[in-house]
């Protein structure tokens, strides 16, 4: 038979709703896709399924009572959320916290970062078909959650910081237990890397997928590992040091190509640097009070203040507006890193396949709790 081949099936664009109930969307994210076969022509993230009005709740409560709400933003790394909020309020009130409190805060925050990156690695690898890392990473994550539990009684929603310091000191034996874990942890990171870094399938699925240039990344407001993966050396802990990050020594890892693989390498190295920070903090942990001398009822001057911390996902900022002698925020806006990072999803997946969308959602490391607030 001659003549051009007739297509045997319909070649019209197909619309596909990816999520909100899909294991690879890491929560209740919905992506409205326009597909040509397997190829993505357009992707539109639809969010808001987890909106709880956190910012409205902040306006109703005294400063210290807002802290439990922050736990529920990025529920995977609660310490950095607490830290962001208390650092902002301390800036507003002009409070300096005692060094012991600052060091313990940093230990908690870095443990939270490791725990968050371990969860990211486990789910990201499962999404791309590698189930084994999950069993290893969750072994270590469990130890970190046990440490949190020993410190404050909670494993995820820690509520572990107060304006002016900390509610509790470290219990007996905690530092030794943490030191033991940190001693062993770098070898575990090597274990994960053995499974993935030079794995041919892993590289095929991640190298050159979801590429974004440094200029584009800045234009889209990316922060955290997605920005550093594109080669921008920028970390809030370095540029606007809070607590005592200016006293510890650590590197800011960056990538080169801005693809999924580089972001993976950046996060792996960040875990190693977090171990370094924790070890330095524990070596230098000073004695002394854990709470600054603050009034029982916190009253802020009139003004607006923004302060941010380097959360595992990027720059987590709190913008607080107060009225004269206000004992609660008049307005508190959260600048969630995942929200801004997710915005670039359509650019990252442009022209890729549906399977790569899963890789890109994984590499952005989003948490819907802080996107929807």
């Amino acid at each position: 038979m001659g003549g051009p081949l007739e297509p045997l099936f319909d070649v019209e664009e197909m619309e596909l709703s990816f999520g909100p109930q899909h294991p690879a969307t890491h929560g209740v994210l919905r992506v409205q896709l326009k597909l040509d076969g397997e190829k993505i022509l357009d992707a539109r993230p639809i969010i808001g399924y987890l909106h709880r009005g956190t910012e409205k709740l902040f306006e109703q409560e005294p400063f210290n009572q807002c802290i439990p709400h922050t736990d529920r933003l990025d529920y995977i790394a609660a310490p950095t959320n607490n830290q962001g909020f208390v650092v902002t309020v301390e800036k507003l009130l002009g409070i300096t916290i005692p060094p012991r409190a600052a060091y313990i805060r940093m230990i908690l925050a870095e443990l939270g970062r490791i725990s968050s990156h371990l969860l990211w690695l486990a789910t990201h690898a499962i999404d791309l078909g590698a189930i084994t890392p999950f069993f290893y990473t969750f072994r270590e994550r469990e130890e970190i959650l046990d440490l949190f539990e020993a410190y404050c009684g909670a494993r995820l929603t820690l509520n572990a910081m107060r304006v002016g310091g900390l509610p509790y000191d470290l219990p007996d034996g905690w530092v030794e237990r943490c030191a033991e874990m940190m001693e062993a942890f770098p070898a575990h990171i090597d274990e994960y890397e053995t499974l993935l870094t030079e794995n041919r399938i892993w590289k095929k699925r991640t190298v050159g997928i979801g590429v974004i240039s440094a200029e584009e990344a800045i234009d889209w407001g990316l922060t955290g590992p997605p920005l550093r993966g594109s080669g921008v050396k920028w970390d809030i802990r370095k540029v606007f040091p809070y607590d005592r990050y200016d006293e510890v020594d650590f590197e800011v890892p960056i990538g080169k190509n801005g693809d999924t693989y580089d972001r993976y390498l950046v996060r792996m190295e960040e875990m190693r640097q977090s171990v370094r920070i924790i070890q330095q903090c524990m070596d230098r942990l000073p004695d002394g009070p854990i709470m600054a001398k603050v009034p029982k009822v916190l009253r802020a001057p009139e003004g607006m203040v923004y302060a941010s911390v380097e959360a595992p996902k990027g720059e987590l900022g709190y913008f607080i507006v107060t009225t004269p002698k206000g004992s609660q925020p008049y307005r508190c806006h959260v600048r969630p890193p995942s929200f801004v990072n997710l915005q670039s999803l359509p650019v990252l997946v442009d022209g890729l396949l549906v399977a790569d969308l899963v890789a890109v959602i994984g590499t952005l490391d989003i948490v819907l709790g802080e996107i929807d607030r």
Binding site: I47, G48, H51, G53, E55, K56, L57, K91, L92, L93, G94, I95, T96, I97, P98, R100, R162, G164, G165, Y168, D169, P171, D172, I218, D219, W220, G221, V232, V239, F240, D287, G288, P289, I290, M291, A292, K293, V294, P295, K296, A300, P301, G303, M304, V305, Y306, E315, G317, F319, V321, Y330, R331, H333, R335, F339, V340, Q343, S344, D372, R373
Partner: protein, 221 residues
């Protein structure tokens, strides 16, 4: 207020008391954490280099400039938003929009909302805040053409406050859904929420008669 007492926080554990005596041995100049906190005081920031450049580069752009807690806030007129943002990005290197949000002051005469742009410059890690007073129903220029980040942040401000951003490519609700009645972060929006059933299931919940009305659970809710 009991400023003179050393933080009798109810959550404090016995472990904390152990650590306290060490700090009392400190020499007379008390460490800052044992002193009364000193809140920041606002000051005039008209001579800040970026503010001065903005005032010189864009006509009538600077209404007021205040420094508070090492952060400079410039109040700009509503008509100049786009021009000022362009200028700051292109001439002053503010290539990064960190945050965009709004604040509601329902009682204020000159305009109900503050729209806040929070900019960052990488070269020397400087930040600058722009504040624009917008009255209810007045549009403000969208800066999506200047920084792409603004897209979702403006949608959020529109959703939460009902501020219209003129020139936005896709100004839709983002955290609530299309058809949601009201703007949740306005001060007059009730904390306990509104009857949202009416918009989704008009046959089950007639307008104003959903499960949350008067705090009474409605039958079939």
């Amino acid at each position: 207020m009991s400023d003179d007492k050393p933080t009798p926080s109810p959550e404090e554990q016995p472990g904390a008391a152990k650590a306290a005596p060490a700090s009392q041995e400190e020499a007379p100049p008390k460490p800052p954490w044992e002193d009364k906190p000193v809140p920041p005081v606002p000051s005039d920031a008209a001579d800040d280099p970026d503010v001065a450049a903005l005032a010189a580069g864009v006509e009538d752009a600077v209404v007021e400039a205040v420094a508070f807690a090492d952060q400079v806030t410039v109040t700009i007129p509503r008509e100049k938003v786009l021009e000022a943002c362009r200028f700051l990005k292109e001439e002053r290197g503010f290539s990064f929009l960190v945050d965009l949000t709004a604040v509601d002051w329902p009682e204020r005469e000159e305009g109900r909302f503050d729209v806040i742009h929070w900019l960052h410059r990488f070269e020397d890690n400087r930040r600058l805040r722009l504040r624009t007073v917008v009255a209810e129903g007045e549009p403000v220029a969208s800066v999506t053409g200047v920084w792409k980040t603004a897209n979702w942040l403006e949608r959020e401000a529109y959703d939460m406050f009902g501020i219209h951003f003129e020139g936005h490519p896709n100004l839709e609700r983002i955290l609530t859904w299309e058809g949601f009645n009201g703007h949740p972060l306005r001060k007059d929006f009730p904390v306990e929420g509104i009857d949202t059933g009416a918009a989704i299931y008009p046959d089950v919940y007639p307008q104003g008669g959903g499960p949350m009305v008067d705090g009474e659970e409605k039958e079939g809710a």
